[in-house]
């Protein structure tokens, strides 16, 4: 069995973002980057499947982006993926989901992957398009937003998360693409020995030029802060002082009993 896991590196969402000079993306220089949280669940599920099947599957982890995404690939290798593929593209943040999906599909098309895991969306753009578009391009069936995964004898049973806590139970065969939602599993922390082992694993660099010539279908014109709706009070200062003021306001507004 051959498994592909597609991951993205994103900024830490707690960061203070500054809009870049060009005005269409954020300034990346002062940000800390990490693996997209949804993709950690995808990596974990692939590694669990490999463990279930007695190490038989080979897991390839793929990421697109500038040099720094090598760190995210390395983490996935330390979590248990076997080999990395880095589609080198310093301009990846300007590509739309269709172009990204086309690059992944162009790489995967002749590789005979039985299963493709992706996160259901990225934390920065949150378009939730790439995984499903990869499936469409490869002609694989796809189930998105899974919070449960079981494999038995070539049949995959997944639980799809719907609104209000309801889940849909779905079965499908392989090859297939599944996109992973938060809570699917508990992603492991790489152990030190596995981090050391990961350093020896192969990361294949590939240029994206020539891989897929798809034009972008949508373009980001501008990145900006949402307009403040205002109205709310911002309290800053010493903790006990703020607690006293807040209790005063809550009592005054009769939100809590006097």
């Amino acid at each position: 069995m051959k498994i592909l896991v597609c991951i993205k590196q994103v900024p830490d969402m707690e960061s203070r973002f500054r809009v870049s000079g060009a005005g269409d993306w954020f300034e990346e220089g002062d940000l800390a980057f990490r693996m997209n949280e949804y993709d950690e669940y995808a990596v974990e599920q692939a590694v669990r499947l490999k463990e279930q099947l007695g190490d038989l599957p080979e897991i390839t982890v793929l990421s697109i982006g500038p040099d720094r995404v090598g760190e995210a690939i390395r983490k996935a290798l330390a979590m248990g993926c076997d080999r990395g593929v880095h589609l080198q593209d310093p301009e990846a943040s300007r590509k739309d989901p269709w172009q990204i999906a086309s690059l992944i599909a162009a790489f995967a098309r002749d590789q005979g992957f039985d299963l493709v895991f992706t996160g259901m969306q990225s934390q920065d753009r949150g378009s939730a398009q790439v995984g499903i578009m990869v499936a469409e391009l490869l002609g694989y069936p796809c189930v998105s937003t899974i919070v449960g995964f079981a494999y038995d004898n070539g049949v995959i049973t997944v639980r799809r998360e719907l609104e209000g806590g309801t889940r849909g139970v779905v079965k499908l065969g392989m090859p297939a693409v599944v996109t992973c939602q938060l809570g699917l599993n508990v992603p492991r922390y790489p152990t030190l020995p596995n981090i050391m082992k990961a350093k020896k694993k192969e990361i294949l660099p590939l240029a994206t030029a020539g891989l897929s010539g798809e034009e972008r279908r949508a373009v980001t014109l501008r990145l900006h802060r949402p307009e403040k709706r205002g109205g709310g009070v911002v309290m800053e200062g010493e903790v006990n002082d703020m607690a006293e003021r807040l209790v005063g306001i809550l009592k005054q507004k009769a939100v809590v009993p006097r």
Binding site: T145, L172, V234, V247, I249, V256
Partner: protein, 306 residues
């Protein structure tokens, strides 16, 4: 401009969010048609052409069949824009339709501009992107709640039946599993104090629970806290947990992801405690306390107990 609105059916019923599609079409000033995979009972109250395919025959989750039905309706209507709700149904189906049509897709639109560009959230709603489609036809998903219907729905659509079937489905829908009902009914709670990722670790949730007790309220939680196993799912507030409308909602270390805000924005009074002055939760908070949750909450609890 001509839009095709893709309505949603769940377990035989029209989902109310379908009416937000109409509000979106009105915002664009577009003429509209509808498509629905569902039964006669789920037909929306609206005027216009409705392409109706039998949900019982196709199954409610058969994305490949649903894609073909939407494409069949699109072929007849030739819409400039195909619109979905950004829901588990819409975000699953929209990329399939966009890929098939060679159309740009813009996800989770929160606003539209007169020049044909769309506003979408970015980085946990801290930022917004202005996106321009480069194709003549666009597939759009709209953020649930962003386009409120202007009035009560009315009218009877002209139903055009689409008779399609999937002879060899590659995906088998087994059935639904209801949410676990154990835990508290936060829907009735007057006061809710919720723990978010900012509480740091499982042991710290007790500090948030202490404040909930001191205020005579219930403990709530955001999704990451539930996913991490710090709190049971029964306490989760948000679109995939419980939608609440308390008198007071205290968000402790919650950044304000869209799905969480959608679950608590009906609260009368919202207090948010966060170290990040720019956290999106500040947008819906009546009071944003800029502080470390683990320092501020015990101080607040002590004050309440005095």
């Amino acid at each position: 401009m001509n839009v095709l609105l893709v309505c949603e059916c769940r377990e035989g019923n029209l989902r109310d969010e379908s009416y937000e599609l109409i509000a979106f079409a009105e915002r664009l000033g577009a003429s509209r048609a509808f498509v629905l995979v569902g039964g006669e009972d789920a037909v929306p109250r609206a005027e216009g052409t409705l392409y109706l395919a039998d949900g019982a025959r196709g199954g409610e989750y058969n994305p490949e069949l649903h894609k073909r039905i939407v494409l069949a309706a699109a072929e007849r209507e030739d819409p400039d824009c195909i619109v979905f709700i950004h829901s588990s149904y819409g975000w699953d189906l929209a990329p399939r339709v966009a890929a098939a049509l060679g159309a740009a897709q813009v996800s989770e639109v929160v606003a539209v501009a007169g020049d044909g560009t769309f506003e979408v959230g970015c980085c946990n709603a801290k930022l917004r992107r202005t996106v321009a489609p480069m194709t003549s036809r666009t597939v759009v998903t709209i953020q649930a709640g962003a386009f409120a219907p202007s009035g009560l729905p009315h009218g009877v659509p002209t139903v055009v039946r689409l008779d399609l079937a999937d002879d060899s489905p590659r995906i088998e829908f087994v059935g639904y599993e209801a949410a676990e009902k154990k835990g508290v009914d936060l829907g009735k709670a007057e006061i809710i104090v919720s723990a978010g990722r900012g509480v740091g670790k499982k042991e710290n949730v007790a500090v948030i629970a202490d404040l909930a007790r001191a205020l005579g309220g219930e403990l709530g939680a955001s999704r990451p806290v539930v996913d991490a196993g710090w709190v049971d799912h029964g306490h989760q507030v948000g679109t995939t947990g419980q939608v609440v409308s308390p008198r007071l909602y205290v968000a402790c270390g919650i950044s304000g992801a869209i799905q969480h805000v959608a679950g608590m924005k009906k609260a009368d009074f919202v207090v948010a405690i966060n170290t990040d002055r720019d956290a999106p939760i500040g947008e819906v908070a009546d009071i944003l306390v800029v502080a470390d949750v683990m320092q501020f909450v015990p101080a607040l609890t002590a004050r309440m107990m005095q």
